[in-house]
């Protein structure tokens, strides 16, 4: 097996060719594992009418890092699919909120575990599954439920993705990825769900074979493009959130 490198030169090359109308999943949970640099590159790249999938639209905390809210402000987003379409405090006003309230952007709110499972299902060729989550709530109104083993469960469909933006700790040239600590979060699932997986990587990219096969978190056959994150200020890295 001849092995070709998946490394691309920079973030602009990494996001090149993403068409208008794409569904883009963006990894991360709070600060860890968010592909800030790829989001920043997508702001420059300018693709429009995007559907963006992530845990949140971002912008509730300082300092603000590149987020879906910025893509919204930049006129690039048609719809978001998130487990938060408002902040965790009733008093939070997210940058995304006024656009949503004016009807300029659509939003689908999905329980976090259902969001994770719908992404995995898309990657796993499972077109739909049943879950007890959200039964009896506003989210289940008018939707299909059934009784299984005496419990009412809700039908949920797979959530396929065109492009996944991933942030990883280590990668080899074959695209095998490792995540550090809670950086893992949604990233491996979005890699499963997507047709095109682009990873920004913190450590220097290793030759194929440098990661023990037992220690790979996301297999390289799922990953198409890798880009090394330069040191700050050129590259964006997690910073401590300001207290509030």
């Amino acid at each position: 097996m001849a092995r070709r490198s998946k490394v691309v030169a920079d973030f602009d090359a990494a996001v090149a060719g993403i068409p208008d109308g794409s569904t883009i999943a963006i990894g991360g949970f709070a600060m860890p594992g968010v592909p800030f640099n790829l989001v920043a590159a997508l702001l420059r790249q300018g693709a429009k009418r995007l559907t963006c999938i992530a845990n949140t639209t971002g912008g509730a905390h300082k300092p603000r890092m590149p987020d879906i809210g910025m893509l919204v402000e930049n006129g690039q987003v048609a719809k978001v699919i998130c487990s938060f379409t408002a902040g965790t405090r009733a008093s939070d006003v997210l940058p995304f909120t006024p656009y949503y309230e004016r009807g300029e952007v659509e939003a689908e709110i999905v329980p976090q575990g259902t969001l994770a499972e719908r992404l995995r299902a898309a990657g796993a060729g499972i077109p739909a599954f049943y879950t007890p989550t959200a039964v009896g709530t506003e989210l289940a109104e008018g939707r299909e439920t059934r009784m299984i083993n005496g419990r009412e469960v809700l039908l949920e469909y797979a959530l396929p993705v065109d492009v996944a933006f991933i942030r990883a700790y280590q990668a080899d040239e074959a695209g095998n990825l490792r995540f550090r600590r809670s950086q893992r979060n949604f990233n491996p699932l979005m890699a499963m769900a997507a047709k095109l997986v682009i990873a920004e990587v913190e450590e220097p990219i290793l030759p194929a074979g440098a990661i023990d096969p037992d220690d790979v978190h996301t297999p390289g056959i799922l990953v198409q493009r890798l880009v090394k994150i330069p040191p700050p200020p050129e590259g964006l890295w997690p910073v401590k959130r300001e207290a509030r």
Binding site: E101, G113, T131, F179
Partner: protein, 209 residues
Amino acid sequence: MPWSRPQMAERLAREFQDGWIVNLGVGMPTLIADVPFGDREITYHSENGVIGYGPVAAPGQEDLQLVNASGQNVTLLPGAAIVHHADSFALIRGGRMDVTVMGAYEAAANGDFANWKVKGAKGGGIGGAMDLAASAKRVYLMLEHRTRDGTPRLMARCSLPITARGVVTLVVTELGLFAPTGEAFAVRDLAPGVTLDEVRAATACPVTE
């Protein structure tokens, strides 16, 4: 005298049994992580796949790649493990959480509760609340007994969109510890000096001893 928030946390944590896996929600419930458990072995799970986390890191010692579900830079205890989000919620839906402790806007005597959407809002913040509420073995709530304008948060039926139906096990407020019984809240404990009449006056449904 009503309980302080750390006292509420301490009182609720007294209910935890040896060996429990515990998920702590955003806000008030994070105070429980500061409660000492002595001989009881308690393992904290966080939605983002952190199993076995410990106290918040000391200032300057934060690992910026490690947060709990509240976004706090926590530490890891020996025996900790990291999994991805789908495996993390597999543990939740799979019934591995002995208890989930959440904040809430409203708790109802029928066991419903509401914590994801405020009145008149277009969006909401669900996070992992619906998954946890549907599948944890026990759902404990921590909330103030009334809103800032004095409206009771404990009531017969929720007025806000609910997070799950009939799942609440215990509710702690600054006034006491309560269990929903269907049509009422049963008092399990009262803060020192708080009377049953005071609780009844602050609650929008029957309160039983």
